[in-house]
Amino acid sequence: MSTLKVNTIQDTTGNDALTIDSSGNVTASQGFVPSTQLSHRNLVINGAMQVAQRGTATSNGYTLDRWAFNSTGMDDFAFSITQNTSSGLSEFPNSLKFTTTTAESAVDANDRAYFDYRIEGQNLQNLGYGTSDAKTMTLSFWVKSSVTGTYASFIYQDDASPARSYLANWTIDTANTWEKKTITIAGDSGGNINNDNGPAFYLRWFLFAGSDWSGSSTPLHTWGSTVGRTEAPNQTAQVPLTNNSTWELTGVQLEVGSVATPFEHRSYGEELARCQRYYYKPGGDIETWRNWANSHGIGYIWFPVQMRIAPSVSNTANSYNVTSKTTHVFGYASTLTSGQAFGITADAEL
């Protein structure tokens, strides 16, 4: 270790290249060429949990935008998942909050519960996976829970055949206290990622894992085939085992490089538009439907952004036949005699 005390660094021709003022502010006078990108670093959408088009969730499925919860094998527990808008973190006022409303009575071998974040393959092409130039990534996140102990996270790479996974452990050291976790993930030269709109990465955070999933024989911090691997090695923390237990997550960033850079904050509008590629819920009822030929209710809804794929559509009228495209939805109902306003949702999630 050594220290260099200077206020100016010049190029070989005597021109200032870097100057440092008395407060430590650095100015690059002749341009700055970073080795990693300065913007659009975060591969995770809604990592700051700003967008929650669906509201509170009490069953498996998508919760806050882009974030899915799933549980299997469990027979007693009930839960709620909400957007906590007063997390207590100054940088991240919003968090995804899981609360156990009825505790699971025991940890059975096949029990598991987890959050997923899924990424399209075409958005991961810069990683160079499946080549000798596969790049290192870093995952960072803030987490808080009433349940201390060892947790497991893994990345499931769906495009490889057989699928591949990368597993890591981290701990909650102090109950009900925000902690920042960082996991550096070596590039995977063994698993190509398809350049398409299908799911390639599943980032998974376990809250509960029976022995079928938590076996310790799976190696950590290395990519490998999922064949014979567990998903949540060494997990000891079992959040849903305690009534009113909580688990919160925010500030999730996945980026190229071996260092967790400061979280890349985006505006609510920008983040909402990104989320609407996967899920769209208009702010109010649809008013465009009208009577046609005195026998049909008919109308179009154009999506604010092109969706990932033709979405599944629910409508509060439950009487329309729907033609679904990535750009719009067209619906009609032969039984209506007058126009009707109603709400829809369009789901093109991974």
Binding site: D116, S312, L350
Partner: protein
């Protein structure tokens, strides 16, 4: 990767058409119109369950 409960699946026809346009089904308790589109997770899951013999899609009316 997901656990999706699907019941009451039935094809429906396109507007002024005799061709199947999509499948209306109850998915995790919500009635949804699912396009016939590979890559739509609901359509893929419906087809997986049909292939497994655990779900039948009724013909369009």
């Amino acid at each position: 990767m997901n656990e999706i409960t699907i019941t009451n699946a039935q094809y429906y026809l396109g507007y002024q058409s005799t061709e199947n346009e999509g499948i209306i089904a109850t998915i995790d308790g919500v009635e949804m119109s699912v396009p016939i589109a590979e890559g739509n997770r609901h359509y893929d899951e419906i087809m997986r369950q049909v292939e497994a013999g655990t779900l039948t899609i009724q013909e369009a009316e």
